[in-house]
Amino acid sequence: MQFHPQWATVGAIIVAAIGLFTSLSADAAEHVLAQKGKAFSVKKLQVKVGDTVKFVNEDPFAHNVFSLSDAKSFDLGSFGQGGSKTVTLDKPGTVEVECAVHPDMRMVIEVGK
């Protein structure tokens, strides 16, 4: 079989990319928050860029999670008891999180580098 250096280069790039991806993924942490008693389980959370935050509904009724912050605008939709939704925070800054169903439910995520 003939050796083609260009394929060796492509292979090396792919292996390096996979390694970079897995190392980044390994660094990212998952933070789990509960929604219980019409409140978030913490009012303030510090995370790093790339981390994920999982919201778990522990109330017997639907909750929602959304944010209009510049650092991350999203709406995870509504989900019932036992349901959960996850958001990845990919930019540094302050993310104010709210529940559309319960306007008094709020918390803040500080996303650091």
Binding site: F61, A62, N64, F66, L68, S73, F74, D75, G77, S78, E98, A100, V101, H102, P103, R106
Partner: protein
Amino acid sequence: MRPHDSRALWIGVLVVACLLSWAGGVHAEPLPRDSREAAVFRGGLVFANYCVTCHGINADGNGRAARLYDPRPANLRTTDKNDAYLGLIVKMGGQALGRSPFMPPWGAELTEEQMRDIVAYVRSLNLRADATP
């Protein structure tokens, strides 16, 4: 001003406006609880607390969260839906009726009266001449 401060301000404005109009003799007698006017008044308060984030204080679909959604929240001032259908959307949410999944189901959060009041309030704002209750 923070967004939730804005909501509190609007609720305050609604309450003060209603108190002033009441004190000014527009309603010399308390509104009968079952009257349409009372339902619209109560519905306005519920709307200001739960619905303005997406539908906006003018119910025109331009709330502060509207930019998150495609399709955008409904312009309730021009809706052609009747009261029964509006009530179903409020109670069951958009997804149950093949509409936007971002419209939450309010049936577990609001009372039947509150949901009827919201519909009455939305009906009172409707600009369509051909809209049927």
